[in-house]
Amino acid sequence: MSLSTTLSTLRLVSRIYTKSPSTIFSLIVITLYTVGALATVLGLVPPLPPAKGGWEYIYQPPSARDFPWYILGTDFTGRPLLLAIVRGISTTLAVAFLSAVITVTIGVALGLISGYLGGIVDEIFSIIINVALTIPTYLLALILVATLPAELKTNILVLAGILSITAWASLARAVRAQTLSLRKREFIDVAKTLGFSAWKIMFDEILRFMAPFIAMSLTLAMCNAVYGYTGLAFLGLMPISSENWGIQIYMAIRAGGALYSDRAILALWSPIITIVLLQYALINIAKTMEAIFNPALRVSYIKGE
């Protein structure tokens, strides 16, 4: 791709994102979260101070101390809440991204191979996909996380693996169905007579056709992983840690007295808003994938039709 086409593509993409206020907003949210995660990884964010028990330290009101980290007050360990939330971004995003990559890789590979090759391969893969479809990811994940030794519960790779354990199934089914119908299209027949290998047909012709759908699935898979990661923590299945947003909410309700007073109100709402904003942005970005990857839509999107 030459520089000019790259630039024009970038221009098109930026036009798509500046089209509606909600996509601009979502893009800003994702950028902020990414900056937060990178800052943590690069050591630009200070480490959490040691926990301080005792009623006078926890759920303190906002203060300007160590600006800006105490702006939301303190959490259930007496640590600065904002700092805890920001430090949580990198782990959450890492788990979500890894899990989405695993989900999409398995789902696309199984669905594509099953649908394109057909025959006995398809029969076996179909059974595998069907079985995985009947096992809800978070149900099996719940059992596995619950029985997992504590030291593995903080391992990002293990968590990502567990959160995608059967999450790929519905994607695999959809990819398989699309492949089956695409396989009968005339442009695939032509690709065969042009002498293209099965590999090229699967990954260049068919996969390219499904690109908008797959990009969307990747984003939504991140969304699901965030849901699982924080949701399982909320059930009290993860080690108690300030950096997990699900646990912050759990503690605010169970221990912080958010039920009866306003003392823990920031500790309840801050992580909730953090999670919901991330989910909202991811869902909105997923919607734009169709417009980015499908040239027909891309052009009409820009012309404003």
Partner: protein, 340 residues
């Protein structure tokens, strides 16, 4: 006249001179019927077709006649249940990898639906360049681009620069079909199958696209198997064009188009020709229905002759015995008990 082009000639029957010989092809499909049952039927039933080098051969038939299936068999897109397809004397289903690759590059396809036959997310220029790049047929991008522009120009996408960066959705049906022709001919294949290439286009566009196809064909001396339900389109390829008329998986008549149009022999061919609408209001009363009823689905083929249930001339023997395709005069073959 274009040098080196041999007009379709029914007298050319030297085996070596055929680009494609499909012999005794039988293709059995199974379809789901109801929730569970599967039924097997022969979409193409023991049919042979020859395409002489440098000529155009027509395959005429209605939907369900098996003409598309037969065309795809000669392209190795469908493996026949029985029979063999010889490309330059070798069976394409038993070729070594190297031989098959050679055949592959020499047998190309122009499908019917211009909206389903081009990848919707790829630019026309990229699609064509990709073919050359994949087979390393150009030394540089620049050279590839030159070849592509040349082919696009010949296919009627003029000026080529205007179309290189276009996505298929930005083109009309006719332009897409031109792109499809360019893609099939860029490899300069020896054999091309065009399956109803203009059926979905407007009448006024049809002839101009066929003209393009014909001119490009003449230039590279390729052979063409032209599949269509409109006999009249084959007239563009000259009065000696060999045509095969198919009905329910069988070839019922073959011969050169001039003879068949002036004197169709098989009752089905007669019916087909009598039914063709002609742009001449005076002839409106001369056209009538010869056959009874409508064509059954290939799943319920009648016994004996395939036409026995609809043929006004059907005799007892027609219901019992299947007539074989016999040469009754030079270059003219008919499968009908009336001429046995």
């Amino acid at each position: 006249m274009h040098a080196g082009f041999i007009y379709a000639n029914s007298e050319v029957k030297i085996v070596d001179n055929n680009v494609i010989e499909a012999k005794n092809i039988k293709v059995v499909f199974s379809v789901r019927k109801g929730l569970l049952k599967r039924i097997k039927f022969a979409a193409v039933d023991k049919v042979s077709v020859y395409v002489p080098r440098g000529s155009v051969v027509g395959l005429i038939g209605e939907s369900g006649s098996g003409k598309t299936t037969l065309g795809k068999v000669t392209l190795a897109l469908i493996k026949p249940t029985n029979g063999e397809v010889l490309f330059q004397g070798k069976n394409i289903f038993k070729m070594s990898e190297k031989e098959f690759r050679y055949y592959r590059l020499n047998a190309q396809y122009i499908p019917q639906d211009p909206y389903a036959s081009i990848h919707p997310f790829k630019k026309i220029g990229d699609i064509l360049i990709d073919v050359l790049k994949y087979h390393r047929l150009a030394n540089s991008y620049k050279e590839a681009l030159e070849i592509v522009k040349d082919v696009m120009g010949k296919a009627g996408l003029n000026p080529p620069e205007k179309y290189l960066d276009k996505y298929p959705f930005q083109l009309s049906g006719g332009e897409r079909q031109r792109a499809s022709i360019a893609r099939a001919l860029i490899l300069r294949p020896a054999y091309i199958v065009a399956d109803e290439p203009v059926t979905m286009l407007d009448a006024s566009l049809k002839s101009s696209i066929i003209k393009t196809l014909r001119d490009m064909l003449y230039e590279i001396h390729s052979s063409l198997l032209f599949i269509t339900h409109e006999i009249s389109l084959l007239q563009f390829f000259g009065r000696n064009t060999l045509i095969n008329v198919m009905y329910l998986g069988k070839i019922v008549e073959s011969g050169c188009i001039n003879d068949i149009l002036s004197e169709p022999l098989h009752p089905y061919t007669k019916a087909l020709i009598a039914a063709i609408p002609i742009a001449d209001p005076k002839s409106r009363e001369t056209r009538k229905l010869i056959l009874k009823g409508i064509a059954p689905s290939p799943l319920n083929r009648p016994g004996g002759c395939v036409l026995s249930d609809r043929c006004p001339y059907a005799m007892d023997i027609c219901r019992k015995e299947e007539p074989i395709l016999k040469e009754i005069e030079s270059g003219r073959r008919v499968a009908c008990n009336l001429y046995a």
